[in-house]
Every structure is written in C-alpha cells, then in structure tokens.
Amino acid sequence: MSNTHTTAIGTEPFDKTYGIGYQVHHTDWSPFSRVNKLRQDFLDRSYDIDVERLRLVTESYQAHQTESKKMQCAYAFENVLLNTKLYIYDQDLIVGEIAAPAKAAPIYPEFSVNWIIDEILNSPFEEREHDKFFIRNDEERQEILDLCKWWQGKTVDDRLQASLDEDQLKGSEVGEKIFQTNLYHYAGVGHLAIDYKNLMKVGYVGLIKEAKKHLAALSKRDPEWAAKRDFYQAMIIMHEAARTYIKRYAKLAMATAKETTNQQRQTELEEMAANCYQIADGTPKTFWQALQLFNIATALIQVESNGHSISYGRMDQWLYPYYEADMKKATLTKDFALELLEVEYVKMNNPTKLKDQGSMAVRNGRGFGGESLTIGGVDRDGNDATNDLTMLMLEGSAHTRMMNPWVCVRMHENTPYELKMKVVECIRAGYGHPKLYNDAPAIKAMMRKGMTLAEARDYCVVGCVELSLPGKEYGWHDAAYVNTPKMMEMVLNGGRSFNTGKQLGPDTGSLDTYTSFDEVLASVDQQFEYWTDQMCSSLNIIDALHRELKPLPYVSAFFGDCMDSGKDLTEGGAKYNGIGPQASGTATCADSLATIKQLVFEDKYCSGSELLQAIKDNWEGHDVLYAMVNSSKVHHYGNDDDYADELFKYMFECYCRHITGRKNLRGGDFRPGVYSVNANVAMGMNTHASADGRKKGEAISDNMGPVHTDAGSHDICGPTALVNSLAKVDHSLATNGTLMNLRFPQDAVAGIQGRNNLLSFIDAYIAKGPMHVQFNIMSSETMRAAQKKPEDYKDMLVRVAGYSAYFVELGKPLQKDLIQRTELSF
C-alpha cells in the first residue's frame, strides 16, 4: 500500500466499520442525541405547500409593475425577507430556512403557474402516487389559485410555449419527448456553487460595500449604464434585506431564550443570536458562525429562485480556516465541530421543491435535490488537500444517512490510504453516499472548457455529477434529458415515430433501405445533428427568457466576475458560461447498433426489414429473433468486448461531438453530459421497442451502464469487464459529466477482505480513468424484493466459493437459504 501517511483525522478511527448494507428503522445513527432528534423531527414532518412566498412576491410585483425586471426581483425578495414568518426549531443550533417552514415547499410563480392551477383542479398534489404534497386548507388552496391566475401570461413557461417553433415543440416535452427541457422550462436553473471562500472573507457588508463602489464608478457614457445601475441597486437592496433577515432571526433567538427555562438551551440561543449579529454586521469569526453564514446565504439563493442543485463547493477546503483557528485557540472541540456539521447536514434537507408531474417523472424526490458537497482531491498546486474536515464530513454523512448532502469525494493517485478507507467504510454501510469523482479526467474536462490548470484543479461537483468552478461558472448543468434511443428510432424508421407513425424528423433512411452499416452510422449522425439542433436552439430560447424575466442579482454577488462587470449571471456575467444537456440510453443505442451490424450486415441472420418488423411488432411473434438479440451470441457493451465497446464509444462521441462547441447567449458554449440519473425509467415508458431487444415501455439503459432488458442482462462478465468497457471512452469529452452505478452484493464487501477488495477495486477504477462511480451494496431486503419481482433483478450474481449463479435462476428454497446466510454473516 502506498500513501499510508496523512495527518488528517476525524473523531473516529479511520477504519471504523459503519455496518454492511443499509439497515432500515434506525433512529440512532448519530452519537449526538440532538442530531438524532432533529433527524427524527424532520422525518416526522409532512410535505406541505406554503403560500407565503407566492403571496409576498405577488404583492410586490403588483406594487412595482413599471420597474425594471431586476428591481422587481429585488423588491419581491426584500418583501419576502422582511415579512416571512421565522422558525427556530427545538434543539437546533443553526437558523435560516427558505422563507417557509422546514420541509414545506414555497411557490415560484415567476417561472410557471399553469401546471399548478391544472394540478390543483385536475390531479391534486395530495393524490399523487408518489411525491405527494399537501395544501394546508381550502382557503389557502383558493388563495394559491387566485394568485397564480394573476401570473398567467407573465411567466417563463407562458412565453416559452409561444416562442418555440413546430420542429422544436414536437421534439420537446410537450411533443414526443425526444429531449426534455422540463427543468428550466418550469423552474429556475440553479446548478451552481458560489464563492464561499470570498463570502466568508468579506461577509454581506463587504459585498454591499463593493457593489456600492461599482455603482458609484459607473459611467453614463456606458450604453449599459441603466442595466448595470439596476443590477447593483438590486443587489444592494437584496443583500441589505439578507442582513435584516439575519437580524430578525437574532431577535427571535433572544426572545426564545427569554422564554425558555432550560439553562443550557438559553445559552445556546443566546450564542445563536450573537452569531447572527456577527455575520449580519461583519464576517464570521468562528467555525459555528461560518456554518451559520453558509446556511443563510445558501438558503437565500433558494428564496431568490427554485433552481436546484445549489451546491456547497469544496466545503472541507473553504471551511477549514475557521476550524483550524478555533482548534488552535482551543475554543472548539472535534466533537462539537462534528455535532455542528451534523446539525447542518440535517438542516440541508429542509428545502423542498414542488415540481410539476412531468419533471417529477424524470426526477423523483421532493427535496430540491443535487446539493453536492465536495471533499478531498488536489489543491490548486496539485497536492493532496485532505484535512480533518474531510474526515469529519464523511463521519457526519454516516451518522445522518439522509438524502442530503450528496457527499462527493474527489479521488486521485495520492489520496491518502486513511481517507480511502473511510470512504470504503461509508460505501459499505450501504446508504448510497459518498459518490466518487476521479480528478484526472475531471481536471482534463475542466481544461476542455477553457480553464487554467489551477482553476481546473479547484473544480467541485454540482448536482449529480456535473463539474463546476465555484464562484466562476454558470454552467446551466442538467439543462435537458436527451432520449437518444428515440433518435435511434428515427434512424431505424425513416425519421418516423413508432408510437404514432408520424414523420417527425428528416428521412435519413430506414432498416428497409440501408445497404451497408456505414449508411446506418451516417444516418445516426444526421438524426443526432437534426435533433440536437432543435434542442440546443430551444435551450437558447429558454436561456433568453430567464435573462429577460428572472435575473438573479442576489446570487450574482457571489460571483466575482458578475460583481466586477455589472452583469447578472443570466446576462453572462460569470467567467465561464455553459449549457449542459445530457444523453440517456447510450448503451441502448450501442447494443442496437451491434445487433444491426452483426445480425443484418455481417452474419445476415435476418434482413433489415425483418428486424424492423420485429421492433414494430414489439417483438411479439418474433420469439427466435428476440431471444437471439438478447443472447450472449450477439456482441453487447459491458463485457470488455471491443466489437460492442467500439459502438458504445461511437455513440458517446457522436453525442459529445454534436453538443460541444455550440454557442450560447451568455458568451459560452454547450457542454455534453452522458448520464440519465433515474430518468431512463420514465423515458423508457414513453419509448417503443428498440433493436437491442428492449420491449416497449421498459427502461432504457441507465447513465454509462450496460443494457438490461426483461430477457436478461447484457453484461455477463462481472465488474472488472464492465469497468474495462467503461474505460474505453475518453470521459473528459463529456465536459458536463458522466455517471456510473455499480452494484455489489454485501457478501462481496463483507469483512476485512471484502473491505480491502473494494478498496483495491476503487484504486484500479480510478487508475483506469472513468470519471465517476457510485456503489450499491445489496441488502437482504433487496434479495427479498428480487424474489417478489425477479424480472427486475436478473443480473444479480450471488457468489460462493468456486460457484456462482444468478440469484433469480435459483430455486426458491436456495434463495431463502442464501438470504439467511447473508443475515448470519454480520
């Protein structure tokens, strides 16, 4: 083992075992009873819809109808912060919510209202199958309807519907869903990490001072004088409102302290009040104050807009000086630092976002989602950046085990052994965090976006897997979900939809007409060009509408280049500007091409027309061909088989090529991502059968993963083969990120040997060069679920000495025996 030296330590041994596989119904993960209580209180709270933001914003817009958009935004924000009801929760140590009670979702009418009205009237939020929300009473229901009606015609959504042409509409979420731009069609953009380091250094007062300085220096000879003046004025109003908001909390904390009879709680509340006064009028002086400022500043970004994935940057780096100083002065213990972190972790779950049904389908979950917290990695000089907080932040994650934060560990060749071990212990605990990011390809990807090496090394992860430079990049990550198998449908079927038979795109040939495989590839290229044209032009329209209707002066202040240039984030004020739409179903396309190449053009096992007919018939009545396409006799991606892996590479590069370099309105360009998160399931529901042996309605392939159809998994050679396949593409071409899920049975990672094997596997993975990986460690519950629904668990291998078999192919009694054995092993 190399790298056995580091000074970074948490409160627990670096190799502490956090368990094997997620066990449900625990209430006491954390060593701190306060944290366990706050966590339980969170879980017990209901998901309400809160009317207050909608009410206060509408009131302000109605009072300021003739002002510029920036000023309207500023007054609305101010009205919310000065008047929203405040909450301090029992035992909490940090204050500040998103202008709604914890876990209640505010409404953001600036972006869209039609779906809210429609869902209230026709498919109530309370009656959803999942992601339910509750409006508190009929009066509020009526109030929401009335207020939303005032906004009709004024929102991003309304304007967009009128701006798209027919070709764009038919491909989009309102048409055949070849690409889905839902997220920023109906809501804010988010997907950024601010410059927390600078915020901590100068505080709100410093930012306001700077804005005032720039405002005073503006020249009337500048043709953009008025726009810049409004920008700075709006920014000043909003940041002053933030200070007022913090002081309102300070007063409330003092008032609550007076009422409490518990001496200890009284002291805590008084200190919380003092923390608030300090950060309202100055800069944080302690670790606790730094966390308090972080919480407020981040929450308010989500009051300004409901764009999600407001990420926390390299938190172990920017927070470290406060930890270090307190530790040196001996005013902080490691235990209390960890407790504060865990309190903040629980709090990070409070912001809740109401999403429309369509977005909900591609993006399950009621939290905002995507709040990534990046730790580890190299510093700007290329040296390992691990510190005590890196370790504590992982411990906090294992102690809280909640949706948020999405802890992401940056890995590189010199990541210390102790950190890797703690990472592995968290992964083995099976709660789904942390995800791992690979510095080498990620830094290469950042440099492809035009950044310097030092900047590239400072990347953080935003949202699921997107790379971003804190305080310098407005990447519009996660801009659209692209259903590439739908584009492949156009390739097979002369540009026509299988679902409707209608002509959708250009006729670039079909399986009836192709005479060589090269013609098929040329057709793929043409369809991808056509549909990415439609999508990217649509995204530029959406981008322009956000600029026009919803500037973001509050968050812009945290981007130094916006501050200096007088340009809002939406106007291209950030140093780096992107739009990142992501491809889903790459392996579905790759295995489709492998089928066509091998069976139609090489083996002549069937004609193109026969294959086309079988797909049109959803494989019904084509049992032999269906079995063949899904069998090990056809080349499939994920088996370390160059034949199929080359085709995966072709599809990956084809998508990246058609996205990369297109210009956007903010002076930046488009960046491809290759991932689907869980959207591949919803996309599959809406997609006809495909040439890889998928039937209508089945999920398309997930992220960078291989194909799994109802007839079987297409990857059958185990994880090392899969990773070798995955490593054959240059991940850095996907400058908006790639995503890989790997699933291991608990058995494979159990015990010291299992732990060491997983650690070695990760080392080899990082050395091979894929960009991202996250692990699923299977539990007995999963095996029981597999018994109930075996068709979904076909690839689940159980391995025993000298013997391996697919779980679902085994008899019921043996399955039971295996489940028992697994439970006995820990």
Partner: protein, 320 residues
C-alpha cells in the same frame, strides 16, 4: 507440456479462492464424486452439454436445435421444451448449441490454449496488483490437467501474476512436485479422516490426499486448508478431533488458515440440466443451528492453536 486444456468456466473478479481480486479458471474433469459437490458439470473430463428448460423458447416456436443435431431424435422435449441432454452417447452437440438463439443449451467445457487464457487473465492485471490477487486454477480437479496448469503458471510467472492452485490433492505427487516452483498458494481440503467414510461419500481414497498434504507442508509451501462441513457426515467430534490432530502432528500446523465451508444446497439446477441425480436431496437443515455448530467447530480448532475461520476469509473481521 500441454498448451491446451479443457476449461469449463473463466470467472473474472472472484474473491473467495485466494487473496485479493482474482481471475479463476475452472478445469474440467474430476476423479472424485463428492456427494455435496456444487459443480457436477466438472466431473466428466470431456466436453458436455446442459439444457436449461427455463430458457428454451419451445420446439414448436423455435426448434432450431433439432435440424442442427447430428443424431436424429436424441434431443428430448418435455411439454414442448428441451430437457436434460444425454451426454452418455458421445454425441457432439456443438451445432445445437450454436443454433440455439436463447442460450438454453450450455456447453460445459471449451478447449483453450494458454495464450487464450492469458489474454483474458491479463485484462484484469491492474486489479491483481492493487489487491494482492492473481490467478486461481480450480476444477474439477486441476491436477488432472497438470501439464496445462504448469504451462499456464509458467506464463503467469513471466507476467508477474500470482498463482494459486485449488486441488483435492487426489493425484500423483509427481504432478504436485512439478508445479511447486510455479505455484504461490495452494488451496485444498480435508473431507474426512476415516478412509471408509471418505470413500463412501467421495468414492476416493483419502490416503493419497493426506500423504500429499504432508509432503507439501514438509516443503513449507503456502497452504490454505478447508473443511466442507457436511451435516452428519464429517461434523462429529471424533472426526473434527482427528482432523486437528492430523494438522498439528502430521502437517506441523503449517496451515495459513483453516477455513470451514458450511454446507450449502448449491448446484441443484446444474444437476437437473445434466440429468444427474442430486445426492444430498434428503438433507433437512436448521440453518441457524447449523451455523452455530460450525462456529463451535471453528472455536475448537482455534483452541487447539489452529487459525480457523468460517467462510473463505483469512482474517477475522473487526467488530463494530
């Protein structure tokens, strides 16, 4: 030296037979017939074919295997689906397997050259290096094809890949001796100390096995020893004590780890596919009580000073 062997499975990323992450080759043919064996497809030295009824499309809707078959009428169908294949008549079913679109016919065993094996083995070299893993040759009985193993291990040594041989040691000592310079770790097992009972359950003489184990430990080779703990066969006190005595007195205690592998009802589906009756059908097991019993046996060995663990690990796990 044999350049080619008959391999019935190559598994990448195995973690149970030897340290670290490994690629494991399963060689066909075994002289023993242990009743609890979970790999009946490994028994016969020649290539065999198995039928997986659940994957068969059906004779009426597909039936592509029948015209491809060199002997008419030899394939059996039950309720329209292919059932167990008759391997007793020396028929080559290769074309049937090729014709089947559904992977319902599985060919057990494939002739592979050393270089073909090395191509696959080398693909995961970086995983071995990171984890202290390598290659394991298993079976069947690997030593039935000892010359092939020798060539393969020489090639591995050239590549710097660690080698491990899992064997019953039911083989001529000369074969073992030839492999010693090229084998880093040996894995073997003691199924029973009583020659009569051993013969009854495995059809082989344990004298050869025990003798080979003695010679190997005399030469201080790395050895992981196992006991497949089979209820009411070898888990009684007398046999366990005799095994401990043998390890301490005859093997000089030179065992890296003694691993107890609890009986599992594995391989039933493979028996069915090959039309071989399963010998352990009658065993009824209270899994929880049995696991406790196995843990007690492990504790006994440890008390006798033999490093013994349940399962295929070599290190005790840390407790939370």
């Amino acid at each position: 030296m044999a350049d080619k062997g008959i391999v019935f499975d190559v598994q990448r990323y195995t973690i149970h037979d030897g340290p670290g992450l490994r690629t494991e080759l399963f060689l066909k043919g075994c002289p023993l017939r242990c009743q609890w064996c979970s790999n009946p497809e490994s028994w016969a030295p020649a290539i065999e074919w198995g039928a997986y009824q659940s994957k068969c499309i059906s004779l009426s809707k597909c039936g592509l295997c029948t015209p491809a078959c060199p002997v008419k009428g030899i394939l059996n169908f039950k309720r329209d689906k292919l059932t167990a294949i008759d391997n007793s008549k020396q028929v080559d079913y290769t074309d049937c397997e090729k014709a089947c679109p559904a992977d319902a016919i599985k060919q057990w065993g494939k002739t592979m050259s050393v270089s073909e094996c090395m191509t696959i083995i080398c693909k995961d070299k970086s995983y071995y290096e990171q984890s202290g893993g390598g290659v394991t040759v298993s079976g069947g009985e690997a030593l039935l094809q000892s010359e092939f193993v020798l060539s393969l291990f020489k090639a591995c040594q050239k590549e710097g890949i660690q080698t491990c041989c899992e064997t019953t040691f039911y083989a001529d000592w000369k074969k073992v001796e030839a492999l010693i310079p090229y084998t880093d770790i040996w894995i073997s097992d003691i199924k029973h100390m009583d020659p009569m009972i051993h013969r009854q359950y495995t059809s082989g003489d344990n004298k050869i096995i025990l003798e080979n184990l003695k010679r190997l430990t005399d030469l201080k080779q790395e050895l992981i020893l196992r006991i497949p703990v089979i209820p009411n066969v070898n888990d009684d006190r007398t046999n366990i004590e005799a095994t401990a005595d043998f390890i301490l007195n005859e093997l000089h205690g030179r065992v890296r780890t003694l691993q107890l592998l609890s009986f599992m009802r594995l391989g039933v589906e493979k028996y069915q596919s090959l039309n071989i009756p399963y010998g352990m059908e009658g065993i009824e097991l209270d899994r929880e009580a049995f696991q406790e019993h196995v843990a007690e046996i492990a504790a006994y060995f440890n008390r006798r000073g033999i490093h013994c663990l349940v399962g295929t690990k070599e290190q005790e796990d840390t407790k939370e």
